[in-house]
């Protein structure tokens, strides 16, 4: 990661988390994947109630506990200690995944190894790995009303992650609705990948260069995004 120039091109990860948070509507139930997506919880705009789901069995995920306040019976899907907000609830795995598979979550914000121009997602296994780590990823992508990806635009080695066709094992086909990267916000549409928004200082041409699938520019997205205030 330290060699990765993209860290300083476009949005920082906290800025991107804030950008994702803007699109989560009041009253939504949202699952945040392990790792980067969990950043989103810190940037919910004032006055909005977003209820976060953790697939290990809770709704109403709160912030990390103060040091010394950790409770090993209260962890998130990454097995890290967390807190429960007032109004939260606990349930078993079968209930948690009934919730997911049954289409009750408004959105899942997930990481990705690759995503295709059709919204196919590869996120659970590297091509030559002995072991995959599927966890709840397949259920979340199949069941959530919307699947948002939160990711660096290219891999650590600078390879395109947005591609014409995934070469890595699929998590689910045709499941991604929107891709948030350090460079742009891109919608997966019937008409292909459409750039809705560019990060400050990033050109459409540059995004296309970093992408191994054809992009279109949305009619109303010819302006640079600049007004993003990170509320931390």
């Amino acid at each position: 990661m330290s060699k990765d120039q993209q860290q300083v091109i476009g949005w920082t990860m906290p800025e991107l988390a804030s950008r994702v948070a803007m699109d989560l509507e009041d009253g939504w139930f949202v699952n945040l994947g392990i790792g980067l997506p969990t950043l989103v919880a810190d940037f919910i705009p004032e006055g909005r109630e977003i209820i976060f789901h953790s697939e290990n069995g809770l709704l109403g995920l709160g912030p990390k506990p103060e040091p010394g306040e950790e409770d090993m019976d209260l962890v998130n899907a990454g097995k890290e200690p967390i807190t429960l907000r007032p109004g939260g609830s606990y349930f078993s795995q079968s209930e948690s995944f009934a919730m997911i598979r049954g289409g009750h979550l408004d959105a899942a914000v997930l990481g990705a190894f690759q995503v295709s121009e059709y919204g196919d997602l590869a996120s659970w296994k590297l091509p030559n790995a002995t072991l995959g780590r599927v966890g709840g990823a397949m259920d979340l992508t199949v069941g959530s009303k919307r699947v948002f990806l939160f990711m660096q635009h290219t891999s650590n080695k600078g390879e395109a992650k947005i591609v014409e066709e995934c070469s890595f094992p699929l998590t689910a086909p045709r499941c991604v609705n929107r891709i948030y990267t350090n460079l742009a916000v891109i919608d997966v549409t019937d008409d292909g990948l459409v750039v809705r928004e560019l990060a400050p200082g990033v050109t459409f041409e540059y995004v296309q260069e970093c992408t191994a699938a054809p992009l279109k520019l949305h009619a109303s997205s010819d302006m640079q995004s600049e007004a993003l205030k990170v509320q931390q």
Partner: protein, 231 residues
């Protein structure tokens, strides 16, 4: 008079035979019945089929059974973590079989096992490597996989409090796989922090009903709170 309490974990797991199918609750260290697992390592039953979501998050979970060469097959969703090396080594040698299932499919297969449903259809995993070789069917134009129930000969589960009949309540996300695994085994053994008299648990708050629990073991103090996040 109903009495499900066993003197200790060793006695509660004594009759587990080679070749048994064992469901082990817990998500990482949370809700892991580590006292029962330790007793089974001691007991030594071999050729086990173990069903558990994680295997490598903590050393006193299923990883300990794998390292002790007691496991013939493991069914899980997340076979990685700091203690997965012994699994990888045994997979390469071909002495263990691994079946990866999506977490929700795993949970639902176990629920089906407990609920008398032999098989069900799910969209999860269709068109993926994990769906290969499975029977498929279209519902509303979408491909679904036929998934089969999982039942255990034994389930090891962890709960916070039990009463003498075996009613259980859990603490927070300790529930995870425990309530569903409790329903799906011929013999469910619950490791609990506390056993109280019948009537002391508010009936509105009982999560696992007495009918699902066959043996109770009080967790030993040295096993409580020992488990750390991914160690």
């Amino acid at each position: 008079m109903i009495q499900k309490k066993f003197e200790n974990a060793a006695k509660a797991v004594a009759d587990i035979q080679d070749g048994a199918t064992l469901l082990v609750g817990g998500f990482g260290g949370s809700g892991l019945p580590s006292y029962l697992v330790a007793a089974l390592v001691e007991q030594g039953a071999k050729d086990l089929t173990v069903v558990s979501n994680n295997i490598g998050a903590v050393s006193d979970g299923v990883a300990a059974l794998i390292s002790n060469n007691q496991v013939r097959k493991i069914i899980c969703s997340f076979p990685v973590g700091p203690h997965a090396d012994d699994l990888i080594e045994r997979l390469k040698k071909g002495t263990i079989e691994l079946e990866i299932a999506p977490q929700g499919t795993l949970a639902e297969r176990i629920r089906a096992g407990g609920a008398g449903v032999p098989a069900f259809y799910t969209p999860t995993g269709a068109h993926t490597e994990l769906g290969e070789g499975k029977e498929t069917r279209l519902f509303d134009g979408q491909m679904h996989l036929l998934e089969h129930a999982i039942k255990g000969d034994y389930a090891f589960i962890k709960a916070h409090r039990a009463d003498r009949w075996g009613n259980l309540v859990y603490r927070k996300t300790q529930r995870n796989f425990n309530p569903v695994m409790a329903t799906a085994a011929k013999t469910t053994i619950a490791e609990v922090n506390e056993i109280v008299e019948v009537g002391e648990i508010d009936p509105e708050t009982i999560v696992t009903s007495s009918v699902f629990v066959h043996r109770l073991v009080q967790a030993e103090a040295q096993h409580e709170g020992k488990v750390l996040v991914n160690e």
